[in-house]
């Protein structure tokens, strides 16, 4: 078996040639090692790049690895050439995408229930951008299509896996603010009175 060092070096070369995210499985097959072993080597390599603060970063996307530029260097790259900026997603597209990302697999009906508005068009746009895709069908009545996010989504939003999505279940931030408001209102007898009067 090749030494760790030479395998890492080989993976580095392979990523360079491949350009696209390189599947850990494909890399593992080359050396006939397990996926986990290859994954660990990629992680080590990623760490090395990180420690040295290289201009190239190894990005992980759902068990694949890819060379990308360092975020901080964007300005310099843009000075060198003017890359076409992809248009940002609209607010509604982001909302729908967020629901799909956090609740997947999810049906259109569920998305519409949360937003209180139809989402066919937005979904169509997201599918076209390859950010969401069909993930099968629900067992519910009418067997509606279930949607989930794609690897492109992970890539474009900088997540290495779905587990990396920041938790949103704690709406504590929102609640805390609201709680303060409630207290503030309670202290104000007029405001408190108003509430009483209204109902």
């Amino acid at each position: 078996m090749a030494s760790k060092k030479s395998m890492k070096s080989a993976f580095e070369s392979m990523m360079f040639v491949w350009g696209e995210p390189l599947d850990v499985k494909a890399a593992a097959d080359v050396f006939d090692i397990t996926k986990q072993e290859a994954y660990d080597l990629f992680k080590e390599l990623q760490e090395e790049y990180e420690q040295e603060g290289r201009g190239i970063v190894i990005r992980e996307i759902n068990k694949t690895f890819q060379f990308v530029t360092r975020e901080e260097n964007a300005d310099y790259i843009e000075r060198l050439c003017t890359p076409v900026k992809a248009r940002r997603l609209s607010q509604s597209a982001l909302e729908v995408l967020a629901i799909v990302a956090y609740k997947q697999p999810v049906t259109k009906g569920e998305i519409e229930a949360i937003r209180g508005i139809k989402c066919d068009r937005v979904m169509e746009g997201l599918m076209k951008k390859d950010l969401v895709c069909e993930k099968g069908r629900s067992e519910a009545v009418g067997r509606p299509i279930l949607y989930g996010t794609t690897d492109t989504f992970l890539k474009n939003f900088g997540f290495s896996s779905l587990k990396e999505l920041p938790p949103i279940d704690d709406v504590e931030g929102v609640m805390a603010v609201d709680a303060d408001l409630v207290e503030a209102e309670d202290e104000d007898p007029v405001a408190a009175g108003q509430i009483k009067f209204e109902f």
Binding site: V17, W18, G19, E20, V57, R59, Q66, F67, V68, T69, R70, E71, E72, A74, I77, P83, K85, A86, R88, L89, S90, Q91, S92, L94, E95, L97, A98, I99, A101, Y102, A113, I114, R115, G116, I117, K118, R121, K155, N156, F157, G158, F159, P166, I168, D169, V171, G173, V174, D178, A179, L181, V182, E185, Q194, I195, E198, F199
Partner: protein, 280 residues
Amino acid sequence: MSYKVRLQTFEGPFDLLVYLIENAQMSIYDIKISEITSQYLAYIQTMQETDVYVASEFMVLASALIEIKSKMILPRMVDAGDGGVVEEDPRTELVQRLLEYKRFKQAAEILAEQEERCSHIYEKPQEDISAYLEEPDEYLRLDLAQFAAAFNLFIQKKQKVDSVRKHYTRIERERARMEERISYIAGVLKKSIGQFFSFKEFIHNKKDRYDVVVTFVSLLEMAKNRIVHVEQSSTYGDIQVSAGQNVDGTVSLDIPSAGLPDGYEEELMGKKKQEVPGGK
């Protein structure tokens, strides 16, 4: 329904409602339904006045708000079943939905930030690595544009070749012809009348199927004109050739001038000689 164009500020009824609640600095857990409902209706009114088509979804929420408002003035004590009473707030469901919506609105903001960050990261698209690949299958994975480009290239090449061809004629090397083969066989036989030859002896290049066929057809033609006498003892067996009665005669051969008759060639080249007609 493209509500989005008409309501630039709000993405949907919940978006509007959340905005109104936050704008009024109200707690989401203690919505002043009356106030919010009138604000909400006023907003829809403005939209209608400014000749904006109001999406039905906004109306649905408006009616839901009015329903909640009317329920608020009714006694809210509900029999819990076990003798006790529970106070039921008609706003509960709305609050739950608003909270759910806010959660995802917040998630959308996170995603927007992430998207912004990632727009500063550049990746290299995969270059053409087909030069490193042995499998021609790779070409089949081209997308439509690449495929069209490849096809155009092919057409251009073909046009170039065609234009060259226009000025030049291709000349094929002349292959063995029947007349030559007949005169050759006749010559050999004339010299040794009464002697038997094997069919194979007359074939110059035994590996060339064309040569075999020419020899065979020549022999058939000669047998027809009684220049040779052919015998085959068994199927697939060797053919014995000897001089026929007309071997000295000058029989005019009725054969086409250019090798095998039309179609003969392909027909015979395609199949293996299966059966050799018996000697005449």
